[in-house]
């Protein structure tokens, strides 16, 4: 938004006599829940840095950065859904499922004798070592496979919600179960491991770092910038907010509501799938119970960061701040040697506190 001025050149016969302009701190990002949750986070970081000598060490910061990146990408995605007033409970299951598909495709394409594998690998002269025909190709194909599956799940969610008129909660609750079940079915409950000649690239891209900055953190920042651009500078983003603000109005003014809704569920699912694939690289496997109940962490992070479940409000900064806050608290409790069982209780308190403070602020200002 451009900076408005008191002297905006209204024509002489129009005066803003009794209509004051909102001061800058009552407006935009400064008046949002995201703003004071960010302040709370900064305060917490300052307190932590005094409370524990280990908090600001490079190793610990890397740890924090990596840990929150593991839910933050999915949080960016679900924020789109939440802004339209929807919800996606299937993200945790989908993280696992996409990761499984990716590692299974990778392993399968790298095993001579499996279907299609001859296109991708051949045996070296020793008869044992598997060599990729085109290095990196298996990685690309298997990651794409995971993302395509996510896209299909997102499409089904979106079609059920936008075209069939089912409630987002029920649709994605069902999808949570369907996708988790499919994960057990295809893996026979055992989970799967990324393998083959491209596995090293996969690990480098998921758990590697660039000058000490964890790779997932770099993806997160790039995706967050992309999201800010899409939300605030494209027609799609404008319509996402409009649907969350007043769906009827969006429809009456010619916004293609079903299309935008389907698109947000696809975006949410793709983000969850990518997130799952990255997590599996960090874990070194995609167990069948991976990311169980992560949907709740993701939603909690989004809500703490200021996304409104009623729709119309949210953004990448809030999504990231919510994730960082959750992780700093977790990390802080560990460093303070507090019984880690307290963590969940505290997270719950913070969710309610963040929303409550916003309500109080809205009354006072």
């Amino acid at each position: 938004m451009s900076v408005p001025s008191e002297t905006s050149p209204a024509s002489p016969d129009v005066t803003f006599t009794n209509v004051g302009a909102a001061r800058w701190w009552h407006r935009g990002v400064f008046a949002s829940q995201t703003a004071y949750v960010t302040l709370a986070l900064l305060a917490l970081i300052v307190v932590m840095s005094f409370a524990s000598p280990y908090f600001l060490t490079e190793g610990n910061l890397q740890n924090v950065a990596k840990n929150f990146s593991f839910i933050a990408i999915a949080t960016l995605g679900i924020t789109f859904v939440i802004i339209t007033g929807g919800i996606d409970l299937s993200v945790g299951s989908l993280m696992c499922f996409a990761a499984m598909i990716t590692s299974m495709v990778m392993t399968s394409l790298s095993t001579p004798g499996m279907p299609l594998s001859s296109l991708f690998v051949h045996l070296a002269a020793d008869g044992k070592t598997v060599v990729a025909n085109v290095p990196g190709l298996i990685l690309i194909v298997s990651v794409l496979a995971g993302l395509v599956v996510s896209l299909i799940v997102g499409l089904i969610n979106g079609v059920c919600v936008a075209l069939l008129g089912l409630s987002p909660f029920v649709t994605t609750l069902g999808m949570l179960s369907i996708v988790r079940g499919l994960g057990y079915v295809i893996s026979n409950g055992k989970g799967s491991f990324p393998g083959g000649p491209d596995a090293d690239y996969f690990y480098a891209l998921t758990q590697g770092d660039v000058y000490g900055v964890p790779a997932p953190f770099i993806y997160l920042i790039l995706l967050a910038l992309l999201m800010a651009l899409v939300l605030h500078h494209t027609t799609f983003g404008r319509h996402v907010f409009a649907i969350g603000g007043n769906e009827k109005a969006a429809e009456l003014t010619g916004v293609s509501v079903p299309r935008v809704k389907i698109e947000v569920y696809v975006v949410g699912a793709l983000a969850a799938g990518l997130q799952g694939i990255i997590i599996s690289g960090w874990l070194g496997s995609a167990p069948a119970n991976m990311a169980t109940s992560y949907e709740l962490n993701v939603i909690a992070a989004a809500v703490i960061g200021g996304a409104n479940l009623a729709g119309g409000i949210g953004g990448p900064l809030g999504a990231i701040v919510g994730c960082v806050l959750l992780e700093v608290i977790r990390n802080g409790l560990v460093l303070a040697q507090v019984n880690s069982y307290w963590q969940q209780t505290l997270v719950g308190v913070i969710i309610i506190a963040a929303v409550l403070v916003d309500r109080i602020r809205a009354r006072l200002l």
Partner: protein, 258 residues
């Protein structure tokens, strides 16, 4: 002023011409044999009790559903609307009772909702924020409304919200604007603003259909008043030739027709 307004526009070709419009929903006869002619710059008040057929008529003109009988001519051509976009594309705009605004967006964003201005930024097609704010400011000035394009709609008064909804109709150079109860839920001062907004539209040669229950508004701003009862048009006369008492009698059925 209403009498002279009517005289000045009487010669012009009608912008909207309804002939014998009827509508049945199953066994219910919602409209029967309604004729209505509106000329450019004319403000017509549409009155009637609940269930008199006002909204059905408006929704037929807006393209929500087609009539069962009768023809619609717009701007001299016969038209058949199946969707709201059909009527909008020929120049009919509706200001809905609940205004159809997104509270979480700015005034400018609401004015341009669904019709955003874009510009190319290299390979990207991005929103033209400056262009939209500038055009929205122009429209608000044209309507003499104290509305800032970058203010959020949720912080606005009822009158300002009306201005935003009406400014939206000005984007497309509409020839006919239908307003559904625009003064139903706002303060006295804001009612004045809305009525002056209607005058602005009239000055620019735009025909207005005003649906209202408020007799003073109809008599303040309309050239003609049309009274509906039980799906039929019972009266259609210049406001100068009638009185609030007569209109009330026509609405309730105390007086059969005029």
């Amino acid at each position: 002023m209403s009498a002279t307004g009517t005289a000045a526009t009487a010669a012009a070709a009608p912008v909207l011409d309804l002939k014998g419009i009827g509508k049945q929903f199953g066994a219910i006869r919602a409209l029967h044999g309604v004729d209505l002619t509106i000329r450019p710059g004319e403000v017509v008040g549409l009155m009637g009790d609940n269930g008199a057929g006002k909204s059905t008529l408006v929704r037929i003109i807006a393209g929500n559903f087609p009539p069962s009988q009768g023809t619609i001519h717009f701007d001299g051509r016969e038209v058949h609307f199946h969707r709201p976009m059909d009527s909008r594309s020929v120049g009919i705009e509706v200001v809905y009772q609940d205004l159809a605004l997104a509270n979480n967006l700015t005034a400018a964003a609401n004015v341009f909702l669904g019709r955003e201005l874009k510009r190319n930024f290299g390979p990207l097609v991005l929103l033209d924020h400056k262009g939209m704010e500038a055009r929205a400011l122009e429209l608000f000035r044209e309507l003499r409304s104290e509305t800032r394009p970058h203010d959020l709609v949720k912080d606005m008064s009822g009158g300002q919200r009306q201005a935003v909804a009406i400014a939206r109709t000005r984007l497309s150079n509409a020839k006919l604007v239908m307003m559904d109860e625009p003064t139903a839920a706002i303060s006295v001062r804001q009612v004045e603003q809305v009525l002056s907004l209607i005058h602005r539209l009239k000055e620019q040669g735009i025909a207005v259909i005003l649906i209202s229950h408020r007799m003073p508004d109809i008599f303040a701003v309309c050239d003609r008043v049309v009274v509906m009862r039980r799906g039929e048009k019972k009266a259609d006369k210049p406001v100068a030739d009638t009185s609030p008492e007569e209109v009330t009698a026509l609405i309730t059925g105390a007086k059969e027709a005029a």
